[in-house]
């Protein structure tokens, strides 16, 4: 036990380095999907530290939940952003002064919380049922907090689905999700959904010609089709 460096020390520092480095790469990469899974890597390294701290449930549940959450986050980001399939490079940082300020405040706050709170130093007895105790805590005294957080997250999810669906309560979402034109003031690539003249199915080629007058072409084509 008096070894200068034990295997657990090496594992801790390696995991800590992975967590910090991949956390930094989240903001240095140029892809929504890569950013999501780099964040997952960072969380998994933190979960490994949890396992070293003999908190198996929290460590394993972190891996489990974060894998699902980052997968959902990647899909939702691709859905919300006008970036086909998340393949186009795009910057992962924005609103920088505000973000830097929030980051510094959060870092100082969390560091102060760690430094000022009394950290436990008693080893947990081998026969202590830690997972059982955690369950009693979460569905006992702390139930209100966890259930409130759960309901808040659920309403956020429903809100995001409403915002992303095409016919939300604020009207059709098509104008906002329409990609920019191929030339100045021109039509976007691909077919354009047209609610009034619903003859566009299968005639997408007509809309790909940027120089043609769009309404006339479509009207003539529609008449031809009907």
């Amino acid at each position: 036990m008096n070894d200068l460096i034990s295997g657990i020390d090496i594992a801790f520092w390696a995991l800590a380095a992975i967590a910090v480095l991949s956390g930094w790469r989240v903001f240095a990469t140029d892809s929504m999907v890569r950013a999501s899974f780099l964040l997952l890597l960072s969380f998994m390294a933190v979960a490994g530290i949890m396992l070293l701290l003999a908190a198996p449930y929290i460590g394993v549940a972190t891996i489990f939940m974060m894998a699902v959450e980052m997968m959902v986050m990647a899909v939702f980001m691709v859905m919300f952003m006008m970036n086909p399939a998340g393949l186009n490079p795009m910057s992962m940082v924005h609103q920088q002064p505000l973000a830097i300020g929030a980051g510094v405040v959060a870092f100082i706050g969390l560091s102060a919380a760690v430094l000022t709170s009394p950290l436990p130093d008693q080893p947990v007895a081998a026969d202590h049922r830690a997972i059982h105790a955690l369950g009693i805590e979460m569905l006992g005294d702390s139930m209100l907090i966890f259930e409130s957080a759960g309901v808040a997250l659920l309403s956020a999810m429903i809100g995001s689905v409403i915002l992303s669906s095409r016919s939300g309560r604020f009207g059709p979402a098509d104008p906002g999700s329409r990609p920019p034109g191929l030339c100045e003031g021109g039509l976007p690539a691909g077919s354009v959904p047209d609610e009034n003249k619903n003859h566009g199915m299968g005639h997408g080629m007509q809309h790909d010609t940027p120089n043609a007058a769009p309404q006339d072409t479509h009207g003539a084509h529609g008449a031809q089709g009907s």
Binding site: S31, V33, R34, F37, L40, P56, Y57, V60, A61, I63, F64, A67, V68, M70, M71, V72, A74, V75, A85, G86, L87, A130, I131
Partner: protein, 309 residues
């Protein structure tokens, strides 16, 4: 049984099991099509060997890291899953108090591995397969979470050893009749098989695997077979009593019982993948969210009422 023997036996089970799945697949395909089986025992090995000696290919601007690592990640997850399975009543290779939650992490990371496999190729069909798989793979995982929590309730523990012990009187497959059928559907999704194969299916010209050739393709296919073994061993543990045998047997026979039960689940899995109907993803999503997920929740409530003191 010391650690080296246990590791060796596990590796043997994974290799033999993967080969067995491939043999089962050939039998099932031949039976369904009413044609001769062909090269049954050596066929899978010949297919694997021909992949190993063929050249690898490269897509245009792939995400090189994930493109290289996704098959390995899938394979590693299969081995992590089987390491959690208690092969005898004395314990598993990785014996942690939250074993069933770690299996949940294996399930969710499998969705990530399959997505990254398709996304990193930077090609049309793999990409379509990846997004389609995530849309169906996540809700079927929710179903399996309810099913597994229900199986953990009688044991009052998240440890797989305790879940095995709780089945000493009555196996979970009888106590919770909804459990194993719903869990088998998750198995189809985890191993990219049959009606839940939205990632690598023929309608996308191979999906996430469309641009693969050579040894990486062999690893990916091997990982799919290995995941089938890993899943079946887990299903045998959670629903069929794992290493528990009949009263006349001794505790030393535990690994044998588990292996036999794993083979039975493998056969069920292969049969389901060849016999169940395929659906378009949108209809499958409707089925999942409106029928299967509420069904799994009913099973959870029933298990909770039964396990209540």
């Amino acid at each position: 049984m010391n650690a080296a023997t246990a590791v060796g036996a596990t590796l043997l089970l994974m290799l033999g099991g993967a080969w067995l799945v491939a043999v089962f697949d050939r039998i099932a395909a031949a039976l369904v099509a009413r044609r001769p089986v062909g090269s049954l025992w050596l066929g899978p090995l010949q297919s694997g060997a021909s992949l190993l000696v063929s050249r690898t290919n490269q897509t245009e601007h792939p995400d090189a890291l994930n493109w290289a690592l996704a098959p390995a990640l899938y394979l590693v997850l299969a081995f992590v899953g089987v390491a959690l399975v208690p092969f005898s009543t004395s314990g598993a290779l990785v014996d942690i108090p939250a074993g069933i939650v770690l299996w949940g992490a294996v399930e969710s990371l499998t969705v990530v591995a399959v997505f990254l496999h398709g996304w990193s190729a930077n090609a049309l069909f793999p990409l379509l397969g990846a997004y389609r798989y995530v849309a169906v793979g996540l809700p079927i995982m929710l179903v399996s979470m309810f099913v597994l929590i229900a199986a953990a309730l009688p044991a009052q523990s998240l440890a797989l050893g305790a879940i095995v012990q709780s089945q000493a009187g009555l196996w979970n497959v009888v106590r919770q009749p909804l459990g194993l059928p719903l869990f088998l559907l998750l198995g189809l999704s985890l191993t990219l098989r049959g009606p839940f194969n939205y990632a690598d299916s023929a309608d996308l010209a191979g999906g996430t695997d469309a641009e693969r050739s050579g040894p990486p393709r062999a690893v990916w296919q091997w990982a799919r077979l290995s995941m089938a073994v890993s899943f079946s061993a887990m299903a045998a543990t959670v629903f069929l009593g794992g290493p528990l045998g009949p009263a006349w047997g001794t505790a030393e026979l535990g690994p044998l019982w588990l292996t036999l039960k794993t083979a039975v689940v493998l056969a069920l899995l292969v049969a389901a993948s060849h016999l169940l109907a395929r659906m378009p993803p949108s209809r499958m999503l409707t089925l999942l969210w409106t029928v299967l997920l509420p069904l799994s929740f009913v099973g959870l409530v029933a298990a909770g009422i039964e396990a209540a003191p």
